[in-house]
C-alpha cells in the first residue's frame, strides 16, 4: 500500500521500542483517586456528590446541562473524602473529587445498549452519558463531533491511529490486543452519522498491525466499509488536520472544523471507549497510557482508573530512577506539559507519563534567528514561524494574525528543528492568548 502523508513535519527520535511489544497491564485497585471535575474542552460542569457520600464504580459524580459538557464518573467504589482544587495534568489547578477506596466493590454501569439497532438520539445520549471525550489529548466532547449541523454532511469517519508522539505506544497496544473494540466503536460511529466510509490511519511503523486490523474489520465491523491507510511515520502525522489531509487530500479551512470537509476524527482510545459504553454500559473511567523515558526503570503500557495519582503507582507498579530524573511529562514529549511533581492524576486524555533523564531533557538558551528557514519547511500548517516570531516580539499582533498566528496547531515542530533553539511555539501559544484578548477588548469597545 502506498503510504500517504502531509507536507512539512519532522522526525523526532521515536523511542517506542521499549514498550511497543509489552502487553497492557491492568491496575484494578488503587487506594484513592483524584478526579478532576472538568477534563473536557467546553463548558464547566459541577460535582453531583458531596464530601462523605459513598459512590459506586461508574456512578456519575459531576455533570451540568449544556451541549459542550460531558459528565464525569467515579472510577472506583469508595467514599468522597474531599472536593478541592488540585494540580491537573494541564499544569493548572482545578476542582477535583477525591475518592478513597472502601473495598465495597459497588458497580453502577449503565445497561448495555445495542449500538447497531438503537435510535440515533439514544446512541448520542449514551456516548455523552458515558463521559466520552477525545482521548488523543484535546478532550473535545465525543458526542458533539457526532452531531454535526445538517448543512455539514459527513462523508468519512477517520480513526486516528497515527500515534506520532515519541515514546507513546498505548494506541498501538490497544490495536494489537483489542482491535475489535476499535472496529466496533468505528462501526457504531459510522452508523450514527450515516456514513458509508471509515478509514483507520496508522503510521507505517505500525504496519505489522495491518493483518490483525483487517481480520477485526471482518469479524466486528458488521459489514461497515472500513479501510486501512498507512501513513508516513512523521511528526505531527496524528495532528487532526494533517491526518485529514493525508487521507482525503482536503484541507480543513482556516478557522474551520473537520466537519467542514466532511470528516469526523476520533482517537483509537475514544472508539474503544464508545464500543465499551454500548457493549458493557461502561462509562469512561479507565485510561490506558504509556509509562516510559530514560529515568523510568519499568517502561510499560498501563490501564488504571481515571484519577489515579502516578505517585500512588510507585514503587509497586512503576519504578523510577529519581537520581537520573530531570523532567516529568504527561502526554508526549512534543506537546505534553512538564509537571512539577508526579502526584498528579491520570486523566481521560492522558496518553503517557514520561520520566526523562538529563540527555532527554536538554534545555537551551535562545539564540538569534539565523533566518535559515528550517521552521518554515517543517511547519505542518505552512506558516512562517520565523516571521511570526518577529511580529510577536514586536507586539505587532495585526501582522501576526495576518500571517496566520491563529492557524498554528502548536505541534512544536518549529521549536524542535530550530538550530538557535528559539522559543517559537512557546511564543505562539502566549501570542494567541494575547491576540484573542486584544480582539475581545476591541469587540467590547466596538459594542459600546
Amino acid at each position: 500500500m502506498a503510504t500517504k502523508t502531509f507536507k512539512g513535519g519532522a522526525h523526532p527520535p521515536e523511542r517506542k521500542h521499549r514498550t511497543e511489544a509489552l502487553p497492557i497491564e491492568y491496575v484494578g485497585t488503587v487506594k484513592q483517586v483524584v478526579v478532576p471535575v472538568n477534563q473536557h474542552f467546553g463548558a464547566p460542569i459541577q460535582p453531583l456528590v458531596k464530601v462523605g457520600d459513598q459512590v459506586k464504580r461508574g456512578q456519575k459524580i459531576a455533570d451540568a446541562d449544556g451541549r459542550m459538557t460531558v459528565p464525569v464518573h467515579a472510577p472506583i467504589a469508595g467514599i468522597v473524602k474531599k472536593i478541592e482544587p488540585r494540580l491537573q495534568s494541564n499544569n493548572l489547578e482545578g476542582s477535583a473529587i477525591v475518592i478513597e477506596a472502601d473495598g465495597s466493590g459497588g458497580v453502577d454501569f449503565m445497561p448495555p445498549l445495542d449500538g447497531f439497532s438503537c435510535g440515533k438520539d439514544e446512541a448520542l445520549a449514551r456516548i455523552r452519558e458515558a463521559g466520552i471525550i477525545g482521548m488523543g489529548g484535546a478532550g473535545f466532547p465525543a458526542h458533539v463531533k457526532l452531531a454535526p449541523p445538517p448543512n455539514k454532511p459527513i462523508t468519512v469517519v477517520i480513526a486516528n491511529a497515527a500515534e506520532c508522539e515519541p515514546y507513546l505506544t498505548i494506541d498501538e497496544r490497544v490495536m494489537a490486543e483489542t482491535p475489535g473494540d476499535l472496529v466496533e466503536g468505528m462501526a457504531i460511529t459510522m452508523r450514527i452519522l450515516g456514513v458509508g466510509r471509515g478509514v483507520i490511519g496508522l503510521e507505517d511503523n505500525k504496519a505489522h498491525l495491518m493483518d490483525a486490523l483487517e481480520a477485526a474489520v471482518k469479524d466486528y465491523g458488521r459489514g461497515a466499509a472500513i479501510e486501512l491507510q498507512l501513513l508516513k511515520t512523521k511528526y505531527p502525522q496524528g495532528g487532526e488536520k494533517m491526518l485529514i489531509t493525508a487521507i482525503t487530500g482536503k484541507e480543513v479551512p482556516s478557522g474551520g472544523l473537520p466537519m467542514d470537509v466532511g470528516c469526523v476524527v476520533q482517537n483509537v482510545g475514544t472508539f474503544k471507549a464508545i464500543a465499551e459504553a454500548f457493549r458493557e454500559g461502561k462509562p469512561l473511567i479507565d485510561r490506558g497510557f504509556t509509562v516510559s523515558g530514560g529515568a523510568c526503570k519499568s517502561p510499560k503500557n498501563l490501564v488504571v482508573p481515571v484519577g489515579t495519582l502516578v505517585s500512588d503507582l510507585i514503587p509497586d507498579t512503576i519504578q523510577i530512577d529519581e537520581d537520573a530524573l530531570r523532567r516529568v511529562i504527561y502526554g508526549g514529549p512534543m506537546m505534553g506539559p512538564s509537571l512539577p511533581n508526579w502526584a498528579v492524576p491520570v486523566q481521560k486524555n492522558t496518553s503517557g507519563v514520561l520520566f526523562l533523564n538529563a540527555s532527554e531533557s536538554k534545555v537551551y538558551a535562545e539564540g538569534p534567528c539565523l533566518r535559515c528557514g528550517r521552521c518554515m519547511n517543517a511547519c505542518s500548517c505552512r506558516l512562517s514561524p520565523a516571521l511570526l516570531n518577529v511580529a510577536i516580539k514586536a507586539d505587532d499582533f495585526d501582522q501576526a494574525e495576518a500571517i496566520g498566528l491563529l492557524d498554528c496547531i502548536e505541534c512544536g515542530t518549529c521549536s524542535f528543528v530550530c538550530p538557535s533553539h528559539i522559543q517559537l511555539v512557546q511564543r505562539f501559544r502566549v501570542g494567541k492568548q494575547l491576540l484573542r484578548a486584544k480582539k475581545q477588548k476591541e469587540a467590547a469597545r466596538a459594542g459600546k
Binding site: L325, M335, S338, R382
Partner: protein
C-alpha cells in the same frame, strides 16, 4: 517528593542536534576545497590574506561586542565565515592591512551595527568587498596569473577583464589554456586555473562545496539555480557567451555562497526564486552595460535591499480561505 530539581518548561521537549555553530562549521567545510585551491594557485600571499581576514573578522566581532557589553558570539563561528568570504573574493596580492580593513568593515558596519548574527540586511562580506573596491580600486583590481610571483610586473587580467576590454574568448583561451580551442578554454575555466579572486576560480570545487551543503540541507538549491539560470539566459539574450559568462568571474561562487546568506536573502521559497533571478539578471546587466567587468557583488547587494519585501511572498498557509471580495466600494465613495 523531591521535586525541586525537575525542569519545567513549555513543550516541545525534543530537539534536533542542529545548532548555529554546526551550520557555520558546515559552511566553512564547504569553503575549504576552494580555499585550499586558492592557496595552491597563489601561494603564501593568498594564505596570508585569508588568515589576516579571518583573524581580523573574529577580533572585530569579539572587540565590538565586548565594547558594547554584549555576550561574545565568537563560538558560533559566523565571524570566521565572514572573514573567510571576504578573503576568497579578494585578489591574492591584496595588501594585508586592506584585507584586515575589509573584514573589520564587514563585521562592524554590515553586521554588528544591525544587531549581529542573523540581523544584517546586506551580505557582510560583499559590503566589505564593496568598501574596499571603492576605497582602493587599484589594489582590488590587480590580478595575477596562477603559479607565479605576485609582483606588479606579473600583473595580468581576469577572463572577464579581457572580454570587457574587447578581447575574445579565444584570447582568453590563449592566455589560460594555451589554446584558442573553445572547449579547452571552458574546461580550464571550470577547473579554475586562471587569474581572479582567491576563491572564486574553480567552479568544480565550488560545486563540491555546494553539494556538501545541499546534502546537509544547509542551503536550498533554488536561489543559486535561479541566479545562474537567469544569468545564463540573459547573457544569451544580450549576445554574450552564456557558458563563458557562468564559468568566469564570481557568478557561481556568489550564487552558492553569497546569495544563500540566510540573513540577507528572503526566507520564503518564491522570495528566494525572485531574489536569485534578480541577482543573476543584475549581474549580467552590470557586466554588459556597467563600468566594472564583474557585477555579482552589486547584483546581490541590490537584491539584498529587496529581501524584506520578497518575504511577503509567503506560501499559502494550510486551509487558506481567500478573503471575501469587498462589496462595491464605489457607492460609499459617492456619499
Amino acid at each position: 517528593m523531591p521535586a525541586n530539581k525537575l525542569l519545567l518548561s513549555s513543550s516541545p521537549n525534543a530537539f534536533t542536534g542542529a545548532d548555529s555553530r554546526k551550520i557555520m562549521l558546515a559552511v566553512i567545510i564547504a569553503l575549504l576545497p576552494t580555499t585550499v585551491y586558492g592557496v595552491v594557485l597563489y601561494g603564501l600571499p593568498a594564505l596570508l590574506v585569508i588568515l589576516t581576514s579571518v583573524i581580523s573578522a573574529v577580533l572585530a566581532e569579539a572587540g565590538f561586542r565586548a565594547l558594547t557589553k554584549q555576550d561574545s558570539r565568537v563560538g558560533d563561528l559566523s565571524a570566521v565565515v565572514t572573514g573567510l568570504l571576504v578573503a576568497l573574493i579578494a585578489p591574492p596580492s591584496l595588501p594585508l592591512w586592506m584585507a584586515a580593513l575589509g573584514s573589520i568593515a564587514a563585521i562592524i558596519f554590515a553586521k554588528e551595527f544591525f544587531g549581529g548574527l542573523g540581523a544584517n540586511p546586506f551580505n557582510p562580506a560583499l559590503i566589505g568587498r564593496a568598501i574596499l573596491l571603492m576605497s582602493f580600486p587599484a589594489a582590488m583590481t590587480t590580478w595575477h596569473a596562477p603559479f607565479g610571483a605576485l609582483t606588479d610586473a606579473t600583473a595580468g587580467a581576469t577572463p572577464l577583464n579581457i572580454v570587457k576590454m574587447g578581447g575574445t574568448i579565444a584570447d582568453v583561451g590563449m592566455g589560460i589554456a594555451g589554446s584558442s580551442d573553445y572547449g579547452a578554454t571552458l574546461w580550464t575555466l571550470f577547473i579554475g586555473n586562471r587569474a581572479g579572486s582567491i576563491g572564486e576560480g574553480s567552479i568544480l570545487l565550488i560545486l563540491v562545496g555546494f553539494a556538501f551543503l545541499l546534502a546537509l540541507r544547509v542551503v536550498r538549491l533554488i536561489t543559486p539555480l535561479a541566479m545562474v539560470g537567469t544569468a545564463f539566459v540573459l547573457s544569451w539574450v544580450l549576445g554574450m557567451d552564456p557558458l563563458f559568462g557562468i564559468l568566469s568571474g564570481g557568478l557561481v561562487f556568489g550564487a552558492v555562497f553569497m546569495a544563500t546568506d540566510y540573513a540577507s536573502s528572503p526566507i520564503t521559497p518564491l522570495g528566494k526564486l525572485i531574489f536569485g533571478a534578480g541577482a543573476g539578471a543584475l549581474t549580467v546587466v552590470i557586466r554588459k552595460f556597467g563600468g566594472f567587468p564583474e557585477g555579482v557583488t552589486y547584483g546581490i547587494l541590490i537584491m539584498n535591499a529587496l529581501a524584506p519585501f520578497l518575504d511577503k511572498l509567503r506560501v499559502k498557509k494550510y486551509g487558506f480561505v481567500p478573503p471575501a471580495k469587498p462589496v462595491v466600494a464605489a457607492k460609499e465613495g459617492a456619499k
